[in-house]
Symmetry: C2
DNA sequence: GATTTATATATAATATTCCTATATATAGGG
DNA sequence: CCCTATATATAGGAATATTATATATAAATC
């Protein structure tokens, strides 16, 4: 697991990325982020929920209550057009950071 | 310039990296970080000084007052053996983060 | 000689992001 | 009936970087 100090700022990109595939609820987002990064990136639900509220306020995602087939109440989030539009520049910034750290700190990209 | 929210956590690696080459004072560190990243990564001195104090407390760097040839008083920092030892695992963690974001968020490494 | 710019360090107040801890609630398996 | 997995919510705190402010001097410009 990557230390909190280093992974800071990644949660937003992580949420946008898993939502790009399709609508999801918070609990499932956490599962997918952990799974798709082989456990390198792991967020607590207590981190994700406030982040989702902030993103909803900004208009990047929209949440809607739904009842699953098992009868469980949960809040399903989907990307708004605005949120979708944000993904490209955010990816570009991360890409720029990678390049900067490669040059400055010789961080390799396995 | 990369947004503060994204570059969070990079300052420590940046300082360790520029100090790996040789001893430096704060003002010059800021200049080199900006220069070596082509302006992508830029830290205010008000960020760097408290960071240097924290790193000195942890024993990663050691500062010493010196007087430059121009007669200017400044605090010169050098990596301690402990600080040097930290660089490898920190680089590895950043490398792991890059890989994770590549998989999860399709962030490319230009 | 006076003013401005570049060099150099320091700290207070604030913002953001993530954490641990805690609370609540229900479905399903044993 | 209890435990585990699923699911959301929020309070309190830690860490990191920001803006704003203060101080001081060397070098360049006017």
């Amino acid at each position: 697991m990557i230390a909190p100090g280093i992974k800071r700022g990644t949660a937003e990109l992580a949420v946008l990325s898993v939502l790009e595939v399709g609508p999801l609820h918070g609990y499932e987002m956490a599962r997918r982020i952990e799974e798709q990064t082989r456990g390198s990136l792991r967020f607590t639900l207590a981190s994700l929920y406030p982040l989702l509220y902030r993103m909803e306020k900004r208009g990047w995602v929209r949440g809607a209550w739904e009842t699953s087939s098992s009868g469980r109440r949960r809040r399903c989030y989907r990307l708004t057009p605005q949120g979708k539009k944000k993904l490209t520049p955010i990816r570009a910034e991360w890409s720029e950071l990678f390049l900067a750290l490669k040059r400055l700190a010789k961080v390799t990209h396995a």
